[in-house]
Amino acid sequence: MTLLQWAFDGLLGITLIWLAWRTLASADLFKAIVLFIAFGLLMSLAWVRLNAPDIALAEAAIGAGLTGALLLVALARLNVVAAQTGDIESNTKQISAPEDSARTTAVVGQGVSNKHNLFQYFLVLMLSAVAAGLAYAVLSLPSEAPGLSRDVAENLNVSGVSNPVTAVLLNFRGYDTLLEMAVLLLALLGVWSLNRLPEQYESSPGLVLDMLSRLLVPLLLLVAGYLLWVGSRAPGGAFQAGSVLAAAGVLLLLAGWRPAARFLGWPLRFALIIGLAVFVSVALLMMLPGGQLLQLPPAFAGALILLIETAATLSIGVTLAALFYGSRPRSEQIPPHHTGSGGENE
């Protein structure tokens, strides 16, 4: 390693830590979220440095992008309620008025009062000790460790794909991914079960955004397809593609587009679960010829993985977009006779 690389890595590390600190400590929540997004982007840089382009993509799309969007929209909703109840000023205008932040600090800021000072010192001390202990533990690890790289490399040719990360995700440890899809679905179920989120902060999208979305959405679809396709060989795959798809959805939602009511019944539900459903079905089908659960025969593995990934991409995209939207689509809340399909209730 050259000195330059060391300097770069060191700088990146320090910047990451500094950004994290600013994110957590900044008085203004909006600023905190923006900083968090920046943090996420730098994280993807770190992933690249660590030779993990797949994660870099995922981090940029999901970790920074979608999480950021979720955070922002949540903040907006918080402030809508605040504005309605009239107790807190909107935080959003502080992009142009940083002087105000001091005042906001008192209201929504850290909420750390002086009486906690002693506790705080104690905590800092404790956590420093923990960090030091962890650092010691990490540094005590041997500097050379192959991990499972050899196993992965040896089995790569029968996995059906040539990108080792995809191989691990969908073949070697496909079961994890299966459960992970369930977690994603679960998050949506959980959000929906909460019901009645405050209405999103609606501003008229304006011509530019409208145009932008018209231009970008097809492109995003294309990119998603590309990422999905390329995932078997190069960085990319279902999660990255799905999040790009979700980005398209988010953009559309932001631009004021709402899907027609007839799609919000079981078509939506179907789209949400198809990834998991296909995954489970494949997993079970593999048992029919006497294999193990999820045992993909090398001959079809590539095709099957692509099948699973395609379905998963769709579901991930729709799920993430739905998460962004928040509450259950409205068609579900009107009486059943208004909707055509039989899936809805209430």
Binding site: V152, N155, R173, L179, V183, G190, A277, A283, L284
Partner: protein, 477 residues
């Protein structure tokens, strides 16, 4: 099979919300049936190892079923089935639409958790478990429940993070996250110690061992009754199970001091939880604190670390699952019927619901650990283990805990006998709801009668052998 079934159920329930009642119940029955099938299989061939995807550890993920996991699965199936029936009667359709998919996902998570032999897979299951539990708590609505759910969520995520960091250290030390492989490669390095500390603390957070229990009472008390029952009976046991596995198999080298610490915390939990329970004025809070106290017993086994102690703890775990779920369901009935759960005013309600009251009393018997009940067997085993090790301090704590339990349970039951004219009734309670609670409580009692059989089940593949062997080796050295 056990994992996939509830998943399919979830999907179906999600897709067809109108039919949730029937679909959910069918799934629940199917899961219970397959749990019994697994029992049959294990009885025939002993412990099973199954490689998902055919890769095998360390590359792939292994499932592993022995007596320990089998019992957890069975108890999950039993309690789960009962709660399914109860929920169908207790919730209205608009709640059920949400309840079923979430609950089946929770069930998926539990089954996955009890079967997995892979630490990372356990992490994903754990997240699935935690998130679905949180969502279920929030189902109750109302600011108290939501606040409790939020707190629970944060704690649960924190716990997962700690666990994951520990897992990272283990992976990078031994290039595997499979429990069996780790057990073979285990050695005592700083990284292993750090991993042990991290994972243990993370799991303790989720298991709500004193003093990390602060989130539990509000979450368990404010959730809907069926959910409270699930949480207390099964969910906290999930993380305890992982902890048990870790300590039994992955970290058997390093018992003495940390084990003592866990034991001390357990003892503190028993007493503190008991005292707090006694002080509560609301029934569900009382039961929730009782859970804190009862969880403490499970940790008494750690310093003793003999086979008998482990079995005792397991037995307590099982009977607590049954009894506590019965208790929460009973409390739910009282709450529904009377519109409140203030203990001093229960008399007006309790006498109108004799079956529910009987369920509560029987469950109480098991919680206190009176004979004949599952709780008694568990405590007996633990007590004997403590006495045989000559550590009678633990025994004294356990006895005190039982006395406290008796105090808070009879505090409730005492009011039930008071004569009081019937005032209002908020809501009709269906027969099913009373019966479910009663059956569960009865099961907790029956557990006291089938001990030899159950203890034999625990011996499948001797999950406890390793730690006692290590202990003996340590004693010999």
């Amino acid at each position: 099979m056990l994992i996939v079934l509830p998943l399919i159920g979830t999907l179906l329930c999600f897709l067809l919300p109108r039919q949730v009642k029937a679909l959910g119940l069918m799934t629940a029955l199917a899961i219970a049936a397959s749990a019994v099938a697994l029992l049959w299989q294990l009885l025939q061939q002993g412990a099973m190892r199954y490689s998902v995807g055919g890769w095998g550890a360390p590359l792939g993920i292994d499932l592993y079923a022995d007596g320990l996991s089998l019992l957890m699965l069975l108890i999950t199936a039993t309690v789960g089935l009962a709660i399914s029936i109860y929920a169908n009667a207790a919730f209205k359709l608009d709640k059920l639409v949400h309840f079923w998919p979430l609950w089946l996902l929770l069930w998926t998570a539990l089954n996955a958790l009890f079967l997995s032999a892979d630490l990372f897979n356990l992490y994903v299951s754990l997240e699935l478990l935690g998130l679905s539990a949180v969502a279920l708590v929030a189902l109750a609505g109302g600011s108290a429940a939501l606040g409790a759910a939020m707190r629970y969520l944060l704690v649960s995520l924190l716990g997962s993070m700690l666990y994951l960091l520990g897992l990272a250290l283990l992976y990078h030390s031994f290039a595997s996250v499979d429990i069996a492989i780790l057990a073979q490669r285990m050695e005592s390095t700083p990284a292993v110690w750090a991993a042990m500390a991290l994972m243990t603390v993370g799991l303790l957070l989720k298991t709500a061992l004193f003093p990390l229990h602060f989130w539990l009472p509000p979450a368990h008390a404010n959730a809907p009754a069926a959910v409270s029952a699930l949480l207390s009976a099964l969910v906290v046991k999930g993380s305890f199970y992982i902890l048990l596995r870790l300590w039994l198999e992955v970290f058997p080298l390093s018992h003495a001091a940390p084990g003592q610490l866990l034991g001390l915390l357990g003892a503190a939990a028993i007493l503190w939880g008991g005292v707090q329970a006694l002080r509560q004025t609301r029934l569900k809070m009382l039961i929730a604190y009782s859970t804190v106290s009862q969880l403490g017993y499970l940790f008494i086994a750690f310093p003793l670390a003999t086979t008998m102690a482990w079995k005792g703890a397991m037995y307590l775990l099982l009977s607590h699952a049954l009894a506590k779920s019965a208790m929460f369901l009973a409390a739910g009935n009282l709450l529904l019927f009377g519109g409140h759960d203030r203990i001093t005013q229960l008399d007006r309600v309790a006498q109108r619901l004799p079956l529910t009251l009987a369920a509560f009393a029987l469950a109480g018997v098991s919680i206190i650990g009176l004979p004949i009940s599952g709780g008694f067997i568990g405590k007996w085993l633990l007590l004997t283990a403590a006495m045989q090790s000559g550590e009678w301090g633990w025994a004294v704590v356990m006895i005190l805990g039982s006395l406290l339990a008796a105090a808070y349970i009879f505090k409730v039951i005492g009011y039930a006998f008071t004569q009081a004219e019937v005032t209002h009734e908020a809501c009709e309670v269906s027969k099913t709801m009373g019966a479910t609670a009663f059956v569960l409580a009865l099961a907790a009692i029956v557990l006291g009668l089938i001990a030899p059989w159950l203890l034999a089940l625990m011996d499948i593949a001797e999950p406890f052998a390793m730690s006692s062997a290590a202990l003996n080796a340590g004693a010999a050295a």
